[in-house]
């Protein structure tokens, strides 16, 4: 129940974001945004919307929408290589807010056979990082997943490597290691059981499971 509410909010947020942005993007993702189909569709919208947020961080509409989710709005760090160890921790926000809200979106996606953080998800990870860093009592399980191609054991290791990439990123953001636990489900828990690249893309992910 809680999950479906969350997804609704995600979908709505994404729709607002898209409407506020360039019309071309809104049209591209329009099908997904208006569809009332469950989980997978909503997730897809978020995926499509995310890069727009990053690129147009200065646009008023985006800023106002994003602020609802997390007050720590700032320009996303420049896209460099996706190898996590090369990242520098983005600077902390100059101003302080009374409380950092936990982001609504609890999943980030990865490329095939890759465990590097896609630049488009840095903003979301920053929001989770800030929430965890300012809420020392919060604990999260970072659950890595892979798509079904390849062997189950390799995918188990690959899922863990993705969880580790998120863990390392959040650690740089100031999250205490004992707030995070990494697990991997490999290819065992797909969210989309289809055989298309779009299905596979939804399954290559790390989920935040707050305890």
């Amino acid at each position: 129940m809680a999950k479906s509410n969350l997804l609704k909010i995600m979908a709505i947020t994404a729709t607002i974001t898209l409407v506020g942005c360039a019309s071309k993007t809104a049209t591209d993702a329009g099908e997904g945004a208006t569809s009332t189909e469950a989980a997978a569709t909503a997730t897809e919208v978020v995926e499509a919307a995310a890069p727009v947020v990053t690129e147009m961080a200065s646009a008023e509409t985006v800023a106002s929408v994003t602020e609802e989710a997390a007050p720590a709005v700032e320009a996303a760090p420049e896209a460099t290589e996706s190898f996590i160890l090369q990242f520098k921790a983005p600077e902390k926000p100059a101003y302080s807010e009374p409380a950092v809200v936990r982001p609504m979106v609890n999943v980030v996606y990865f490329d095939f056979d890759k465990a590097g953080i896609n630049p488009e998800f840095r903003k979301l990870l920053d929001q989770h990082g800030d929430y965890l860093a300012t809420t020392p009592g919060a604990k999260v399980i970072l659950a890595g997943h892979a798509d079904e191609r390849g062997t189950r054991e390799y995918n188990l290791a690959l899922g863990e490597r993705r969880a580790y990439a998120v863990y390392a990123y959040l650690k740089l953001r100031g999250v205490a290691p004992d707030q995070m636990e990494m697990v991997s489900y490999g290819e065992e828990m797909p969210v989309s059981v289809g055989k298309s690249e779009a299905d596979y893309a939804k399954n290559r992910r790390v989920e935040f499971k707050y305890q």
Partner: protein
């Protein structure tokens, strides 16, 4: 009169049961040998007044048929149905172009309460009885007796030990109910008589037999996704949990001497291969590399381990010498090679192989380093060799369902067993059993 009704009811029930079971385990041969050897398995004679629990001749015919090397003759095409040596007329079988003939006679011994099956194998062309033997067992073992006869016949005809009496372990996932339900089952090599060994609402992967066929190791996920290795006894169904360490605990493989288990752990932040002494539970790290190292598998002599590593950029199969620690890359063909397993003679390695798009099962000749692709299905995984090295079972997908499929190592035969409900995956072929 009463007895006769009982018998008739028994026959009808027996027919219903066998029809049901056959629907469950329907092998479809999708690719076969050009000229299979023809063999007639005549229904075995039975004088008793009890209904036989199995049609022994049909079980044997199905066993031989599944190898793809033999083509049994259907009962209705037989001109005669002899069951004793003096009833055999070779002319009948030559007319039907049969290469071989199998006849049998079943007797029941009151004293031991055992069924005794005497069978004979004939070379029709040479008109000779080339083999005769007797097997016996209890009513519950009649199907085992049929498989034993298949083994005896196959040994005589093909010159190789048969694997009809071996077992296959696999994981089923029932998706019909709201809550997922994973089960480890062990069935006869033909898919019949499945026995449940373990059940869990969470995922189970990576089944591995002990060399004596008594135990199965597997990876179990807990509710939060943490993995651990468990070992289940095939007979008593007792489950032992091996010590767990932070990170992944998976991909267990029993050493040939049964003393150690090779497995994968990632407590260092990255998947590496470890060794655990099953007696003392002492653990030793075998690989230490920043890349993913996984899927350890023993050479038949226990001196080397195959493993999958992406230390070269993509997943490939490597070999580790346990005495010196030397590591050698085995596969160079294709963009993805994983889950390597040695054949029991050590002459080739089977693996999951991706050359362009699809994942197939392939065999690498260790001597010549030549790679042959054995399957035409897609998304193939978890290959497991029969102990005689002629066939392998693997997991693939059919219409969105996980199913088991078989391929001969010579690449000639391919068959698949469609699943009626849920998924069947992670097959592991047992060693020879006592």
């Amino acid at each position: 009169m009463k007895d006769r009704i009982k018998i008739i009811v028994g026959i009808v029930l027996g027919m219903m049961v066998s029809a049901y079971v056959q629907a469950e385990f329907k092998f479809i041969i999708t690719r076969g040998y050009d000229q299979p050897t023809t063999v007639a398995v005549v229904p075995f004679c039975w004088q008793g007044n009890q209904v036989m629990p199995e049609n022994v001749a049909h079980v044997i015919a199905a066993d031989l048929s599944r190898t793809g090397q033999y083509q049994p003759l259907s009962d209705e095409n037989m001109l005669s149905q002899p069951c004793r040596h003096d009833q055999v007329y070779f002319r009948d079988w030559k007319l039907l172009q049969q290469d071989y003939l199998i006849i049998g006679d079943i007797a029941f011994e009151q004293v031991s309460q055992k069924y005794q099956i005497t069978y004979r194998l004939y070379d029709v062309v040479r008109e000779t009885n080339i083999y005769a033997a007797q097997v016996s067992g209890t009513r519950d073992q009649v199907r085992d007796l049929a498989h034993l006869i298949s083994d005896g016949v196959y040994q005589k005809l093909a010159g190789i030990r048969g694997v009809f009496s071996t077992k296959i372990a696999y994981v089923t996932l029932n998706t019909e109910n709201a809550a997922p339900n994973y089960r480890i089952e062990v069935s006869d090599a033909d898919g019949y008589r499945p026995i449940e060994l373990y059940r869990s609402p969470n995922a189970i992967i990576s089944l591995a037999w002990s060399a004596d066929g008594r135990k199965l190791a597997f990876t179990h996920f807990d509710n939060d996704g943490r993995t651990s290795i468990k070992v289940v006894d095939r007979i008593s169904k007792a489950v032992e949990s091996l010590p767990s360490f932070p990170g992944i605990n998976s991909a267990a493989a029993f050493s040939p001497d049964g003393k150690n288990i090779a497995f994968v752990n990632s407590k260092t932040g990255n998947a590496d291969i470890y060794l655990m002494n099953l007696q003392t539970k002492a653990v030793k790290q075998l690989t230490n590399h920043w890349s993913i190292d996984t899927e350890p598998s023993w050479s038949p002599d226990g001196k080397q381990l195959l493993f999958t590593s992406e230390r070269g950029g993509r997943p490939q199969i490597y070999q580790l010498w346990l005495d010196t620690g030397r590591v050698e890359r085995l596969t160079f063909e294709g963009i993805y090679n994983a889950r390597g397993h040695y054949s029991s003679d050590g002459k080739y390695v089977i693996m999951v192989h991706q050359s362009t798009q699809s994942f197939h099962i392939a065999a690498l000749d260790v001597e010549t380093r030549q790679l042959r692709i054995l399957t035409e299905t897609e998304l193939d995984e978890s290959p497991s060799l029969a102990p005689n090295g002629t066939m392998l079972v693997y997991g693939t997908q059919d219409d969105g369902r996980g199913v088991l499929a078989w391929a001969s190592v010579d690449g000639e035969l391919a068959s698949i067993m469609p699943s009626e409900t849920g998924h069947v995956r992670e097959p592991a072929w047992s060693p020879y059993l006592q």
